[in-house]
Symmetry: C2
Subunit: 246 residues, 2 copies
DNA sequence: AGTCCCGCTTGATCTAGGTCAAAGTTTGGT
DNA sequence: ACCAAACTTTGACCTAGATCAAGCGGGACT
């Protein structure tokens, strides 16, 4: 979000500097966090947690991408969240995981054992406060996604997904209000379908259609160029510009 | 959730006893909350807030029902939340409302002006903590709903909605593990459609179908009897029993 | 008692997206 | 360089749910 606020943080060696949980913390709180953290890496495709498992840690994604999914017994699955670097995983105060978490690329997490983290949360109001804010953001995102799932057409769904990924990417490499964007799709067609409540065939067709209509340009299957973000937002049926245009 | 824990609360006159924000607070914190609260009532159909409006209060629903909705310019609308008594409205730390909030029945809210509430939150960690928990619950509900919207059939969607309403009702009048339930639908067919990402015609048809198949019994248009909750959960495609059966 | 209005139901038809099937394409392993 | 497995595209067809269009209560006014 606001890259500048990170600068004053003195937590030295964590690659993401606990941005997720500590954007506003004082440096000694960060140092305290440092004393209870550890790193853990996962390979692409590897499950991190299964729904219902006891989860004895919380943490932030340092690098790589993971998905949160829910599954019905007959195998229908719906992605309910996408974890990008700096996103937080875990539910302070809860024992079980509510969803499957799977690494879709090689992934590194910065973890805290749950108990010490909760103790620290009890001592440092900033952290609880920051966590509340992050959870509210996630809630907003989930609800925005409900509109996508419930009311948008397949083409609008694809455009919405591309817009979200572009937006996330933009916030990682901010350089003013550029109107065009290039990024790599971090998801297979199937994963996109699971995110959008579609089949992978429909995803493929709609991606092709957007390409044919010049809304996006593809190099290979994964590298996407969006010549005009405004046009893409329009295709997404989204009035809000998502913060792209000042 | 856990009705027993409410008993020790001494906040005297608030009909919902601030259960929403204070299930675990000490009594003097509740009294402090009492000093900054006020009540406000709305008529059925009346908007409470529009998306984007500045929102200078937070609060809990005391009685009645409200809906959270998001709308696209062309009028397509998706309900993203349902507020029942004891549910909390508002986003500490945020200025604007993110959705439309509309009273669907006559409704009373117990409100706190935002600034004093936030001050109090900063002073009493319990409240921030409780709010985080509630937000996590809402996030879980939203994500469960994403599965419903993205992957369930119309019939399963209806069954899921009925199950959710029944569950909420059951928690208000707890009397052991009853297997059958009676409740009033608080929503019109159109509101149900907006919740489920369907049209009102499809809702009507599927309700009729469930009735024909004996999954539910209707008295009039609104009063619903579910002879067998297990059967309903099954129709919802939901493996978890939702806490009905011990 | 009548009638107007709003919410609901039911029927007939249409279509977006799902399903099934068959090739293409990339990737990585040997 | 070759091959297998995984991913993707494209085509032909089908179905769940949308859309369009009548009616049907039932309660709130006069």
């Amino acid at each position: 979000m606001n890259a500048p606020t990170i600068a004053h943080i003195s937590c030295a060696d964590c690659p993401i500097r606990h941005r997720a949980v500590c954007a506003r913390c004082e440096s000694d709180e960060l140092e305290a966090l440092d004393t209870i953290k550890y790193y853990r890496s996962y390979e692409a495709g590897q499950p991190i947690i299964w729904s219902g498992d006891v989860m004895n840690f919380v943490g932030s994604v340092v690098s790589g991408i993971a998905t949160l999914t829910q599954t019905m017994e007959d195998g229908r699955t719906q992605m309910v969240g996408l974890l990008l670097p700096s996103d937080f995983v875990g539910r302070p105060g809860r024992d079980g995981a509510a969803y499957n978490v799977v690494a879709t690329t090689d992934l590194v997490m910065c973890c805290f054992r749950k108990k010490p983290f909760e103790d620290m949360m009890a001592r440092t109001p900033h952290i609880a406060h920051r966590l509340l804010e992050m959870t509210l953001d996630e809630l907003d995102a989930a609800r925005e996604w409900m509109l996508v799932l419930g009311r948008k057409t397949a083409r609008e769904k694809i455009a919405s997904l591309l817009a979200i990924i572009a937006r996330r990417d933009a916030s990682l490499t901010p350089e003013g209000a550029v109107n065009s964007m290039v990024f790599d799709l971090p998801l297979t067609r199937e994963a996109m379908a699971d995110y959008l409540g579609l089949t992978l065939e429909t995803v493929s067709r709609q991606v092709s259609a957007l390409k044919k209509d010049g809304v996006i340009v593809l190099e290979g299957k994964r590298r996407v160029t969006v010549p005009d973000m405004g046009r893409l937002m329009e295709e997404a049926g989204d009035d809000s510009d998502g913060g792209f245009l000042a």
